[in-house]
Assembly symmetry: C2
Homo-oligomer: 530 residues x 2
C-alpha cells in the first residue's frame, strides 16, 4: 500500500481495521496475497448488514424486482457474447531482460525490478510490443485441461442475470418493467490492485438489471413517452416513462439508499458520463462517487444499456430473449398507419444500428432488423435495461471512512490520548448495543445484565462486556461503532427504588445518557436501528 503512505487518515483507517477485526490481509501468516482481503468479525457483520439492506430495499420491499443467485463459473460462451473474452484486457509489455510483465500505460511510473532508480520505460531491458492481457481469471472445468474445458471466474455478476432473464420471467410472474437483483462475488485479475480494499482482485457486487420497454413500445401503448422534460411527471414509476425517466429514477433511488445507510449527500457526487466516455452500447451512465481519503472515486455506476445485453445473448445462444406483451399487440392494432410506420421505422433503425455495430453485414442486418420490427405488431420486443451496479467492498470502505472520527484529549497529568469513534448509522453498525454490568464481581448485576442480553439478542447483534472500567468499555464500543450501550447498575437492582428495573442507555454520538425501563428497551432500540 505504498501509494497510501502520504495519506495519514487512510493509514489510521487501515490500522484500525486490522486492530479491531474489520479487515485482515488474506493469507497474512503466509505473507499475504496481493489484492485479496478478508473480513474479520466486525467487518463480516458490517458487510452482512449492508448486503441485507440492499437486498431488502431492492428486492423484498418491491413487487417489481425478483432475486437471483447464480454461479461464479458459467458457460464460457457467455463471456464471448458479453465481449469480455475479446476486450476485457489491459495492454502489457514484457521485459526480455528481467522477465517482468508491466502495464504498457504505466511503464513511466513503475520502477525497474533490477534497477529501482529507473522506471521500466527508462531501463535498458528490451520490451515486447504491448499485448492484450485478459483480466478474467481462467480455469479448467472437468478432468481434461484442453481448450474446450476453459472457463472463467465471472468478472461481474450482471451476465448471469441476462442469461437467466427468460427463466425468471417465466417462473416469477413478473412483467416488464421489472428487475432482477443479485449479490455475489466477482473476480478481476487486476495488474495493480490498489487503495486498500477499493480495487481488489476478489470483490463483491450488488447488481440490479431493471428491464424496461423500449421507447417505441411505450409510445405505442401510452400514446407518448414521458421524459425528464415532460411537465408534472410524478416521482413514482408510470407506464408512460421512457428510458430516461427510468434511468433518472434509479439514480435517485440509489442516492437515497446511500443516504439511508449513513452517507450524507455532501460526501457523494453524481457524475454524468460525457457522450465520448460512454461504453458503445450505453445511452447514458451516471457514476455515484464518494469522497474517499485517497480521492473522489466511484461507488456505483448506473447505466442505461439499451437492449444490447439481451440482444447479444439472443445472437450467441440462438435462444429468443424477447418478450410478448398483450397490451402492445392490442394497442398496435388500434394505431393509425402513419404512427405504426413511424414507430416501426425507429425500432428498425435502432436494431439495425446495433447489428451493424456488432459486425453483422449491412444486408443481413437490414433483414434481421425488419424481422425484429415486424414483431411489434405481434406484441414482441427485446427489453432495454437500466443497471445500477454497486461494489460492496468499496461501500464498506466508504462507510468506515465516513464514520471515522477521533478526539485527542489531554488528562490531568498532561498526557494526550486519542480516542476513535466509528459513527456508523445504527442500520449498518456491526454491533447494535453493548450490554454491561457495572461491576463484574456482583452476581446480581451480572445476572440482570445477562437477562437483558438474552432479551435483546434474538432481535439484534448484542455484545456483552464485563471487563474493565465502564469508561473503557464505552470506548471499546465507540471504536467498534456501536451506537448504544446499556449499563446495569445498583439502581437497576433497586438501590433507588424509583429507578428499579431501569438501565442507563448511553449514546455513542454525543455521549448523552438516559434512563429507561428494561421493559421498554427492546422497542426503544428497534425503533432506532431499523
Amino acid at each position: 500500500m505504498a501509494e497510501l503512505k502520504e495519506n495519514v487518515l487512510m493509514e489510521k483507517i487501515v490500522s484500525l481495521c486490522k486492530r479491531r477485526g474489520f479487515i485482515y490481509q488474506s493469507s497474512e501468516i503466509y505473507g499475504g496475497i496481493n489484492g485479496f482481503w478478508d473480513y474479520g468479525p466486525l467487518g463480516a457483520e458490517l458487510k452482512r448488514n449492508v448486503k441485507e439492506l440492499w437486498w431488502n430495499t431492492m428486492t423484498r420491499q418491491r413487487d417489481d424486482v425478483a432475486g437471483l443467485e447464480a454461479t461464479i463459473i458459467m458457460a464460457p460462451a457467455i463471456w464471448k457474447a458479453s465481449g469480455h473474452v475479446d476486450t476485457f484486457s489491459d495492454p502489457m509489455v514484457d521485459c526480455k531482460t528481467c522477465k517482468g510483465r508491466f502495464r504498457a500505460d504505466q511503464t513511466n511510473e513503475i520502477p525497474c525490478p533490477q534497477k529501482p532508480s529507473k522506471t521500466v520505460a527508462e531501463c535498458d531491458g528490451e520490451k515486447t510490443a504491448p499485448r492484450a492481457f485478459n483480466l478474467m481469471f481462467q480455469t479448467y472445468v472437468g478432468p481434461v485441461q484442453d481448450a474446450s474445458a476453459i472457463a472463467y471466474l465471472r468478472p461481474e455478476t450482471a451476465q448471469a442475470i441476462f442469461v437467466q432473464f427468460k427463466n425468471v420471467l417465466e417462473t416469477s410472474r413478473q412483467k416488464v418493467p421489472f428487475g432482477i437483483g443479485q449479490i455475489g462475488k466477482a473476480f478481476r485479475n487486476e495488474v495493480t490492485p490498489r487503495n486498500y480494499t477499493f480495487r481488489s482482485r476478489e470483490f463483491e457486487q450488488m447488481e440490479l438489471e431493471f428491464f424496461i420497454k423500449p421507447d417505441e413500445v411505450v409510445e405505442a401503448i401510452s400514446g407518448a413517452v414521458a421524459t425528464p422534460a415532460t411537465k408534472g411527471h410524478p416521482g413514482e414509476p408510470q407506464p408512460a416513462w421512457g428510458w430516461q425517466l427510468w434511468h433518472q429514477y434509479w439514480v435517485e433511488e440509489r442516492i437515497k439508499f446511500y443516504e439511508n445507510i449513513g452517507l450524507p449527500r455532501t460526501t457523494l457526487e453524481e457524475y454524468w458520463q460525457k457522450p465520448e466516455e460512454l461504453a458503445h452500447y450505453a445511452r447514458a451512465c451516471v457514476d455515484i462517487l464518494f469522497k474517499f481519503p485517497f480521492g473522489t472515486q466511484e461507488l456505483e455506476g448506473i447505466a442505461a444499456r439499451s437492449d444490447f445485453d439481451l440482444s447479444q445473448h439472443e445472437r450467441f445462444s440462438g435462444k429468443p430473449m424477447g418478450v410478448f406483451d398483450e397490451e402492445l399487440r392490442t394497442a398496435w392494432a388500434k394505431l393509425p398507419k402513419e404512427k405504426q410506420d413511424d414507430l416501426w421505422r425507429r425500432y428498425y433503425e435502432n436494431r439495425k444500428k446495433y447489428l451493424v455495430k456488432m459486425g453483422v453485414a449491412e444486408e443481413s442486418a437490414a433483414k434481421d432488423a425488419t424481422e425484429d420490427a415486424n414483431g411489434l405488431a405481434k406484441g414482441q420486443y427485446i427489453p432495454h435495461v437500466i443497471e445500477p451496479s454497486a461494489g460492496v467492498d468499496r461501500l464498506i470502505l466508504a462507510l468506515i471512512a465516513n464514520a471515522y472520527s477521533e478526539v485527542t484529549e489531554t488528562d490531568d497529568k498532561g498526557k494526550a490520548a486519542t480516542r476513535v469513534t466509528l459513527k456508523f448509522h445504527p442500520r449498518v453498525a456491526p454491533i447494535k448495543v453493548g450490554v454491561m454490568p457495572l461491576l463484574k464481581n456482583k452476581p446480581d448485576l451480572v445476572r440482570t445484565a445477562l437477562e437483558v442480553r438474552d432479551r435483546l439478542r434474538p432481535w439484534m447483534n448484542v455484545f456483552y462486556d464485563d471487563a474493565g472500567s465502564i469508561g473503557r468499555r464505552y470506548a471499546r464500543q465507540d471504536e467498534a461503532g456501536t451506537p448504544f450501550c446499556v449499563t446495569i447498575d445498583f439502581d437497576t437492582l433497586g438501590e433507588k427504588p424509583e429507578l428499579k428495573d431501569t438501565v442507563t442507555v448511553r449514546h455513542r454520538d454525543g455521549g448523552k445518557q438516559e434512563r429507561l425501563p428494561i421493559g421498554e428497551l427492546l422497542g426503544w432500540l428497534q425503533a432506532r436501528i431499523r
Copy 2:
C-alpha cells in the same frame, strides 16, 4: 441426471424447482455447464433464510463464536499445509484411443464414448495407469502465468478460519474455548457431479471451527476431564469438558438446528464413523445424514480434528499458532510434580505422534514435542478443534424434498388433478405471507390489500397477488411453500359491520381459515415465522 430417471419423486422435485423458480441449470440457454446450478427468485430467498438462520444461531446468538468472511482465492501454500495439494485427488485413467479421461474406480460403470454398449473397462482402447487428478480448480494470479502464480479456488471454507485464527483471537476478545464461523462458496472439480444439486462443482458451506483446550490443559486447570461417562454433566458447556463432550455437544446442537428449520428427527440419521473410516487426524467424526429420495446421504460432518490444523499451519507458515492461557500457567504451578509429569508426558506423546506421522524424523520430532510440552508450564498450548461443517445446497435440497407433498383430487367431471404443496417451516419459507384482494376490479379491496401489504412488508417477505380466482392464488402459494395467505374481502370493508377491518388468514397446512383484525396481523405472523 440419468441416474435419477428411476426416481419419480426426484423427477417431480427437479421439475417443480425449475417451474417455480427455485433452481435453474446454470447457463441453460448455452446448453448448461455440468455441475453448476443457479437459484431463481424463490430459491435465492430460501437459501438466504437458511444462511441467515445458521449465522444467527451459530454466531450472533452466542458470546463464544465470532464471524469471518475470507476470500475464495488464498495463498497456495495454505493448500500445501492442509494436504489438499498432495492428496485431494481422484485416480484417473486416460484412454489412448478415444482420448477420454475416466475415474479409475468407475471404468466398470462408465460406457465407452465410442462403443456405448461396452464399458470403458471392456473396450479395446489402451488405458494409461491411474494417475492422481487434483480436484481443486487451478488458476493464475497476476499477469504472468508461471508456477509461482498458481492459485486455487478453495475446496473448503475451513482453512481460511485456521489461517486467520490468531488475527481473530487477538482482535475479538475471545478466549478458548471459542469458535469462528464462516459461510461461503467452495469449489471442487468433481469428475462426476451427480444427484441434482447434491454434488456440484460450485457449492456453499457453513462451517464452524470451535477451538477447545486439549484434555491435558483441561485436566491441569479443572483437576479432571469430564467425559460422556462422567455422571451428571449438564447440557451446557462447562470448563471441565474434554473434547468428547464438546464433540457430543455440537452434534446435539446441530441436530437441534435441523429440527428447528423443519427437518423432523425421523428424517435424520446420525452416523458415527468407525475408527478405520476416520481421516488420519480425526479422533471422531459424526455424519448427520438426511433421507434423500436417492438415498440416505450426508448433510453435515462434525469432526473432532485434534490440533492437526493449527499445527500444520504453524509448521508451514513458521508463525506460532498457540495461545497463552494465564489460568493454565497459574494452575500448572500449583500441581504436584507427579501430575505435571503425567500431563507433560501425555501432551508430549500426542505432539510427537503427530509430528512423526507428518514425516518429521524421530529425533527432530522428540525435540519439537519436548519444546511444545514445556510450553504448558508457561501457559502455552495449541488448541484442538471441533468442526461442524454443513453444505448449504444439499440442505436446500433436503428442505425441498422434505417439504414436497402432493394430493390428487378428482373433480365433478372425473378429471384428476394433482396439487403440490411445499410444507416448509415458516422460518425458512421464501415467502411468509400472500396478500390478496378478493377481487382485482374493486378499488377499495385493492387499496386495502395494498395497505396490508405495506404494513407487513418491512418485516417479512410478502407476495401480493390479485390475478385469478382465490383458489388458484392459494394453490400458487401452496406450491411456493408460503405458510399463510391473507385475503381482503367485502367484510373487511364493513359489509358485515362486526367484521370491519378484519381479514381472512388461511393456513397452508390443513387449509384452516380464521378471521383476524388487521391491527393484530403483524404480531400474529411474527410470532409464527420466527
